[in-house]
Symmetry: C3
């Protein structure tokens, strides 16, 4: 869906109102892959991931997300962020597999560093962050969701860190992110088996906080945000930071090592073969 198409959506127009669309226009000049609607009255930014077809995270898209986060963090009027997708079937399909298949080392390195930045920026955001998960959310999509302070998910979709099913490994900070939400045991089960959970399964173990119908997901996110913004920002931020910093510092301390580890792992023949096999399967499915 293009920005133009987006503007034509009557529901969205009604929801955003004229002035927000202005803000959206100006904020999105740099990228139409990340649509930002910052409400000046509430200080809440709705950020839509908009990289068709399935919001898969490649280097440029990750950079766009990161730039958006930086801008919002530097905008004193912004207090809360709702992360969602312009695609009502897929929240985010995770890392773009084409970044990992037959990669150039320089770009692969840059890709991973940018993902680390997005994670640190979102996980440690000074904003109250709510994921309005309005579609499937595998792997990196699940990672983005677990970075937020609260998760509302539309029924009948799936979510999970399913890396092992593709023959790759969720990095320790993916795992830490999920563990902070559902605890060690459920994380261990989910990550080893690469579980893609239904919304109900995810709700049962606490991976999502609420399950809703597609029509109300954004409104529910806005309602929930109100309760978070009742707390004075500095008190909420310091309390959040106190709990999030250990994991952020853990990645900071091992950052280069983590990049090296990823590059070495992905460029292994066996992993390249597994990815190739996976891509071949995707192509076959697409043809059917």
């Amino acid at each position: 869906m293009s920005l133009k198409q987006l503007f034509r959506q009557p529901m969205l127009r009604a929801m955003l109102g004229r002035q927000h669309i202005q803000a959206l226009r100006s904020m999105t000049t740099q990228s139409d892959k990340v649509l930002v609607d910052l409400d000046p009255k509430t200080g809440v930014a709705v950020v839509q991931m908009n990289r068709p077809p399935v919001n898969s995270l490649n280097l440029e898209f990750l950079s766009d997300i990161n730039n958006t986060l930086d801008k919002l963090h530097n905008d004193k009027s912004c207090r809360g962020l709702i992360l969602t997708s312009s695609n009502n079937k897929v929240f985010c399909a995770g890392l773009d597999i084409m970044e990992m298949y037959q990669p150039q080392t320089d770009r692969l390195t840059e890709f991973w560093k940018t993902l680390q930045n997005v994670w640190m920026n979102l996980y440690g955001s000074r904003l109250a962050t709510i994921a309005a998960i309005n579609g499937h959310s595998p792997a990196g999509g699940c990672l983005l969701a677990t970075c937020c302070d609260y998760r509302i998910m539309v029924q009948n979709f799936t979510i999970g860190l399913n890396e092992t099913q593709l023959g790759i490994i969720p990095p320790f900070w993916f795992v830490d992110s999920m563990e902070g939400v559902v605890g060690y045991r459920q994380t261990e089960l989910a990550c080893q088996k690469g579980l893609m959970m239904t919304t109900d399964q995810a709700s049962k173990i606490g991976l999502v906080d609420e399950v809703v119908t597609p029509e109300v997901v954004l409104q529910k996110a806005q309602n929930e945000m109100v309760s978070w913004l009742k707390i004075p920002d500095y008190a909420r931020q310091l309390t959040k930071s106190q709990m999030k910093m250990p994991n952020i510092n853990k990645l900071r301390a091992r950052r280069d090592e983590d990049v090296q580890h990823f590059v070495n792992f992905i460029t292994k023949d066996s992993v390249q073969q597994a990815l190739g096999f996976y891509i071949e399967n995707l192509k076959k499915k697409a043809k059917k």
Copy 2:
């Protein structure tokens, strides 16, 4: 309620029996703010916080609590402690806000150090400790409850670390204390939003172990204590200590830093203004 009034309570007299009242008289000579009834037969001390109107924790009251803990720890006949309130509406209202509003640095420092001592003493107590939470239990009240080995709460009251609602921050050891009871995710939610939970909500996430009617709370606590005291003391203590020491050592290592951090934070203009505003509101409510 004075000690005299307390003795007049028929239920309490019946419950305590004559000899316990003797013990209570002698042990409370130093302070009528902390009423101690140590049953020589069972080794169980019932400790009532008794600083009207709402057991708010000021420097002197904290010192009294600490002295009581020291005495009981040094008394070889004492094996268990039930912490409760002489006030059947409020277990403990938390830190006395007057200690933090327009404070003198010396007293503020002493106040915080004493609170640290109470926490380390109660959280790491060699006794089996049960909180009989017979009234509201916000902030520091919730902290005292989470220091205990088991929590029984009377229905229709509220409990939580609601610091952020007042524009202050729960220190890391408050957070660690709650996390040990309800896990990381529920702690994160509760502390960021400053949630005051109903007894049912608290029970659902495991913040309290049992919900009971006011008439039976002490008896339930006594019953539960029996099961803890079936275990040989040294085995229970070493097992407890093994699990509690990491958090205690964490505070010990950062003790001075934590005091400095607290003093700096509380004496900020913005925080003083928030507290002033809060006190003004309390006064207005009181006049109504």
Copy 3:
């Protein structure tokens, strides 16, 4: 039950098939205390503990278990391990108390080091590990179960780290093992009070993943194993290792200290008296 008796069991014969019994014969030449049936088609080894009457863990039995683990780890055809008991009343009764009562220091030291090895080997196993808990599982039996990736338990039995009830202490790695399964709070309660939980209680807190009837426990374990082995081994192993290594490294770093601590504690007069008292009670019960 002897190996001979085992072979006579029609259900087992049918289940194992002829070729497995061959494998079992050859793998068990060293020890009839640990019966191994490795299915060459699936790569799944069913390991039966078989030290009558109750699979209590003495030095030789622990060595046998450890050797079995080493062999299976070195056998490239082996991908999964189902740990169960040849006794349909007791999974494993825990440490053999006779190793701790009036011990020789050399043997006591060797005993503890071997237990550490079994724990590290099973907890960090490259195999997918499932405990088919077909009987009571106190103390060290519970430890073996919590080392596995998944636990299926037969109804109407009990499980728990009940060390404190005998006046001894669950070592930190026993506690870490349980905490990884049920979290800090339930571990704290269970270990301090030495709780032996019914299958239902264990299921409620997540100490076991499934509760089944005795007839189906092995089949359920085989079914569950199928879902674990769908994941490429190296991806599952690296993901597992990432989550298990911190606890393994913790024991590795404190290994000698832990041995010393155990030897000092067990050889205390008070602990020897408690054990003597316990053994005396067992003998009295046996005579009745």
